[in-house]
Amino acid sequence: MVIDLDRCTGCSACVAACHAENNLPLSTPESAANGRAVHWIRVDRYYEGEFPDVKVKYMPVLCQHCDDAPCEPVCPVYATYQTADGLNAQVYNRCVGTRYCGNNCPYSVRFFNFFEPAWPETLELQLNPDVSVRPGGVMEKCTFCVQRIKRAKLDGEQNPQPACVQSCPAEAMVFGDLNDKESKVARMAESGRATRLLEDLGTKPKVYYLSRAT
């Protein structure tokens, strides 16, 4: 995935789309205050300059699907592992909830189900049938919308798009196969503006950020 920070307006459409697609629990003011709000993708804000001359920079942060993911070796039950496609997958059924992966993720993009999932009445009727509802006590995180990737493979379609990418009005996010050197993402990742988040840790993330020119 490539995210062009020059294009991101911080509108948070990606966050809303992700919630709808992936059966995320309702995030309320209380859950936010308790540090228990779940957003598989979030928009971090960085402020530059002194008031009133302030510039805000936005940066959508999701699971970076690292090649050398710090979350993977520490899990005692292989609940998180690297798939053959290079996704960092989370197997909810295997997870026993040591939460070690969450502590060892430098991007803080892993979330925990503190209770059994519950939605207010009628909202539970709009759950996405392609996405598992996670039981209480397990970790979860962005899957790059693995259900869409799987579906596209089965249907023989090209270019599956995760919900966040599909819903970005500024087209700041691009998704594709980095191994395919001809693909748009692979070419963009070669750009001189491409950087990766906390790259110096050696985690080899698969999300590239194109830095702001302005």
Partner: protein, 438 residues
Amino acid sequence: VTSGVFEKAREDRLEGLFHLLSRPVAGRAYFAAVAVCGAVVLWAVLAWAYQIRTGIGVAGIQRPVFWAFYIVNFVFWIGISHAGTLISAILRLTGAGWRKPVTRAAEAITVFALMIGGLFPLIHLGRVWLFYWLIPYPNERLLWPNFRSPLLWDLTAIFTYVSGSVVYLYLPLIPDLAAVADHSRGLKRRIYRALSLNWTGSDREWHALERAMKLMAGVILAVAVSVHTVVSWDFAMALTPTWHSTIFGPYFVAGAIFSGIAALVLVLGALRRFMRLEAYLRPLHFDQLGKLLLLMCLVWSYFTAAEHLTVWYGKQPAEYAVLEARIYGRFAPYFWAMVGLNLGVPFVLLGIRRLRNIQTVMVSGAAVLIGMWLERYLIVVNTLSYPRLASAWGRYAPTWVEISITAGTFAAMALAYLVFVKLFPIIAIWEYEDVGHG
């Protein structure tokens, strides 16, 4: 004739010690203590049941502080467990004569502290009912647990340590179990007889026992050092700022011995007072243990200074965010309280010889126990509150469930000890039979 007189005097002395130790412990007060501790333990068990039923969310953990009170308690109790084996093994191997009334009390602390500490990795699990997935045997899909995970190393190390400590407590108990059997009748006699493996006290048996104890003392020393190193690696193997530190292994071992001695002097003080063991646990023992505590206080302080100074000087942003909160910020009260309790109190009370007596040694022990608990709280909660990306910084506060379970473990320790002193001689009686062995 002379040797007969000495023999008689020795037997009288042993008889006296035996009766002192087998006397029902202080009647009504004893049962009141058992009832109070039992009630607190029961409350903690109910709190745990409530947590399992409702979800681990009833604890105060949140993102990013995914580990908190339970892991603090885990490290704390595993640290306390170093009281016994390590101290008693060192004293045994070096043949320190003053060890005699101290070793069994210390070894019992180890076993109970490990049993309590070993529960916390379970209590903290999101789905505790699946805990057996962590045990290394292949499941129905032939999938083993992940041996690359420090948590697996931890499980292996602690399991080894518990088994070793139980054996290490049991071996020197065998002759005393036989003595208890000799002094009792009926069913009780048969039970203690069986527990003593039909010990007769022959030379061959003594010889075998001594060899086994010496071997176990050596083995348990190595295991004890490695266990707390592995516990520290739960943290040090992670990328998390200030956890990823090479000093953590020895730092944790030093801290564990430090808190272990602190627990030991408190337990010995209580035993001396409530079991009237003034004749056996003499000021000398507290003086020696006080010096040991002072030594570990200096070692711990040295490690702490080395660890914090390098982070402070290096000022790497991610690590410094943690340190800044610890020294000047939100966690400063805990940090400076820890410094006062772990360095200030023992350094003054034990370092100045005029001030060193049974009371001040016990006060230092209590201070160090609180200080070392705070140290683990800082390592776990302070660090996790400040992950690398500032947007994820968070605050943690414990809930009544975590506090209840924590209180329950202290009560469980007291309860286990109360039961132990009633059933078994808390001082190794045979060690006072200084003829031929010991």
